[in-house]
């Protein structure tokens, strides 16, 4: 059974790079363009009887940004304990702490090398 990841980012490039890397590592990837879209996708997966093993999300997104998205995630039973990876830029220290407070599991700095992404994934997933 391949593991499933939800990748949320408004930048098509970033989404693409994250998806590609995770797919290489054997994940099935679901993409969303912002926080709201992410929540809807999550619900869709749950209604199909499947579940998401990993969530990777950007912090700056229209409609529902990363912080808000993470808070909502932690409020839903299906994603209460799911590992959540934040994609942050170097200059966003405070944003990262905010994310952490909202319930993020780990973070990775953009731009990232694919191996680093997989290493971090390895730390939060068995």
């Amino acid at each position: 059974m391949p593991r499933t990841a939800l990748v949320v980012d408004d930048s098509v490039t970033i989404r693409q790079m994250v998806s590609y890397t995770l797919k290489q590592a054997g994940f099935a990837v679901v993409e969303a363009v912002d926080g709201q879209d992410g929540l809807e996708r999550l619900e869709g997966v749950r209604l199909n009887g499947a579940h998401v093993d990993l969530i990777v999300t950007d912090l700056n997104m229209p409609r529902l940004d990363g912080i808000g998205f993470i808070r909502q995630l932690r409020g839903r039973p299906a994603s209460k304990f799911t590992p959540v990876l934040m994609l942050t830029t170097e200059s966003q220290e405070s944003k990262r702490q905010e994310g952490r407070a909202a319930g993020a599991t780990a973070w990775i700095v953009k731009p990232f090398h694919p191996d680093r992404l997989l290493q971090v994934v390895g730390k939060v997933l068995p």
Binding site: I14, M17, K110, P111, D115
Partner: protein, 346 residues
Amino acid sequence: MSLKAWIFALGGWRRGKRLEELREQVAAHLPLLPVVSAQLRDANRQVEQAVAKVGANFGRMAERAREGANEASRILGGVPESSGGSPVMGIDGLLSSSRATLEDLLSRIVRDGEVCHKLAGRMDSLERHMGHIVKALADVDRISFGNTILALNAKIEAAHMGERGQGFELVAQELWIQSQRSNQITEGIRATIAGLAGDAKSAMAEVGDMACADRDRIRTLERQVQDALGRLERAHQDMQESVAEGSERNEALAGEIAGAVETMQFQDRVSQQIGHIVEALESMRAAVAVPLGGLGGDPRDPHARGSEAARLLAGSYTMEAEREVHATALGEQAAGEMALSDVEIF
């Protein structure tokens, strides 16, 4: 009116004129800010699309490389029974079993060679036995000689003893006969042995020939099998090397793609920067528009379209896309290809 008042009024009139000129100039440029923003946004969008295309290609490349590696692996290693499909013996497996067969053949050949060799050895021991027999013959010789002597002795004694030796004479006689007999027997044995030796020698020669012939044939076979094994080995090596090379190339490719993945993310950064610039332009416009009061900066103001600044800007374009963005921003035409939603009018 006093001179003071007159100068003051003149100054005011001049200031007003200056202001009027300024107002005209700003009015000419301000509407162009949206055009610049639109251009920035458009450029950003194009870059994003280009990067996205490249990214999609990566996925496909990686997929193809992986398939290629799997294919080579299948051809070389075969498909094991456990994989669910029908098992296929790969080249590796075929080479292994061919090699095993050849080596088995070789060891049989060698073993047969050893048998022939042993056979030749048996012949040698036969020869040795012959030697022993010949030696035994010598013993027999000695005995018969001894017997003869004995008989002679006896006769001599008898002769010496004269009359008294009559009885002994008989014994001596018998001994003599015995000894003659002995000698005959010995001769017979000797002849037998000679015949035996002759037979053995010819038998040995025959077997030796056989063994020789076989030995040569065996050696030829051995050589052929060794050659075949050698060629098999080389073919196997070649195959493994080319598979290894293929693997290395795939790895290199994967590495390069990984590097590119990191680099391509810079597009996102650039995109954000452009976003900031556009925001800055907007606040600039807002900041200027208010004091000039009434200067809405509407790009569709015919004043703007025809202005010097607009003409200068338009003159700098080199691409059709740029002109389209310009025209739409200035409301000149509803550009067919360009959807208005691509450009934000604020």
